[in-house]
Assembly symmetry: C2
Homo-oligomer: 373 residues x 2
Amino acid sequence: MRIAVLKELASGETRVAATPETVKKFIGLGAELAVEKGAGETASIADADYAAAGASVGSRAEVLKGANIILAIQGPDPAGLKGFADGAWLAAGLNPFGERARVDAYAKLGLEALAMEFMPRITRAQSMDILSSQANLAGYKAVLMAANAYGRAFPMMMTAAGTVSAAKAFVMGVGVAGLQAIATARRLGAQVSATDVRAATKEQILSLGAKPIFVETVAGIEGEGAGGYATEMSDEYKAAQAELVSSHIAKQDIVITTALIPGRPAPRLISDAQLASMRSGSVIVDMAAESGGNVEGSVSGEAKKIHGVTVIGASNIAALMPADTSALFSRNLFNFLSAFWDKDAGKPVLDEEIGNAVRLTQGGKVVNERLLG
Amino acid sequence: MRIAVLKELASGETRVAATPETVKKFIGLGAELAVEKGAGETASIADADYAAAGASVGSRAEVLKGANIILAIQGPDPAGLKGFADGAWLAAGLNPFGERARVDAYAKLGLEALAMEFMPRITRAQSMDILSSQANLAGYKAVLMAANAYGRAFPMMMTAAGTVSAAKAFVMGVGVAGLQAIATARRLGAQVSATDVRAATKEQILSLGAKPIFVETVAGIEGEGAGGYATEMSDEYKAAQAELVSSHIAKQDIVITTALIPGRPAPRLISDAQLASMRSGSVIVDMAAESGGNVEGSVSGEAKKIHGVTVIGASNIAALMPADTSALFSRNLFNFLSAFWDKDAGKPVLDEEIGNAVRLTQGGKVVNERLLG
């Protein structure tokens, strides 16, 4: 059982899919680990650290040779994948909806591609969930990005020259990222409010000491779809929410938007007119910028001034704190593979519930229900 | 009594020396206010906001014409100063030791230059102290810069994929900036320690919930000079501190250095060898980079990787949060001038204690003891 760990080649990707900690644990299960040279460099992990943990370190061709499982953060370019064992697994964040051509290519290569972001949101899979682990840290980082771009302080400060008032921060979308954003903005001393399309989040918002901002009077806005994700909202809700936001947002200094709908463009939460209602110098971090954006005019990977408001279109936030995000992503992969490890076979054997959820390709074909529609 | 507020022209300077709030207050004292066009733009204050507060807005020549008091953040280029009233005051952060040639030029122009950073550290002048007000916010911002550059999280996080441990942060130099840095790093959830050359700071460090790291065994390290500033340290102390730092720093993820000695180069607190002892991925913010740096190799205005450690040479940190720092700087100026306002004369009249401390030039000559000394 040979496990290959690839160096990420995508622009801006700094994470790595295994750490010395998980290398040791996989070896403890009886696997042989091969790490591509320089794979951990941007996450502050030296090749020597992998070697000390018991892995061999080599070129891409060397680590892929005879590999039974290939680990990566993002789906690697199919063109560079050669020499692995028949029916090898590729476990990574494969972005199946956005990178469908790659999925087809993995099938042709004979790979069994496992999309970690298709992990079902069930209790026993929580420790394998890359979306949660990465979103958690991304929510923290989004608030730091906002605080760093903001021309004022977050906490109230009593100084000899008078008082600096606390920033007002509004978190839109209270999933894993939103909850961590609330907690971080509170830590920094901001006055925090939050909203979501799922009424169940109201308790969570309150439990973090923030103020829930909810459209209470409009029916039919409950959206909780399969797997605990928000479903797309009704037109009626959208209108009511826009109205709520219009009055609330005009008083906010900081807004963090986190609303995503898997496989679809991100919902528009803030219009240009609403931006214009905000105070000059306010800051918005659009965590959905890569999926089309929650904020009108936001551009992934850029910070723009719109009506005097700094709109930061976040792009792969998790890659901005690669040491911690790599550690958690790597643990997700280890928790996943080790949970199904068959000692007699000396390799993991997936069950139906999780295996069918994450498996995109098998036997040369695309087999996943969500891709076959 | 005409007060002119200049637009800052120095590179990277975003602050402004008056806000609509202080404009109103000066007008309340009977002054006439003239604000240079665009002066508040980078601090998110529009010309219209100044006009609404009662100021006239115009070109530099227009606002200087007949001005009795000129307000600025940094000392303006003497070449552009024309048309003001005889013996007009220039109140700003004039950097008297670093910009001595300018001070001489202000004398030749017949200006009475008042260096706000020479404000004595006495109780009644606390509300006029720009060094304190700006350092306070700079200490906050330095921690945000460190947190933003750090590849891990500051707080301990318990996640389904395991625990992320809290960052270890060390603050060197516990003046106003250092105290705020300790408070902010604690807010963000780091494990914080701190040191200083003044033993009196130990209580302050403890009161903020941080761990004091002090050389206890070396005599003669007490350095508290005139005006509450640290004096230069003895060689014996330097050696002992370097030894202490060498062992403590090797375990730190984040270091914030804040040690300044007025009119002299900043003391070296961290050597290249000590940098090499730190874990790859650690972050240092050198708040003294503009004065030569507390950290070997740090460059003002740059972030460099040295032995895998990100060393951020901070440059005019206060300008990175111009809305709040401008508000406090402006209040310092108002508190200063209003405290000495003579209603009958319709202008401020300084007393000896503060007047002699801050006055650099008068009657065409440099008159300040610290510059003549």
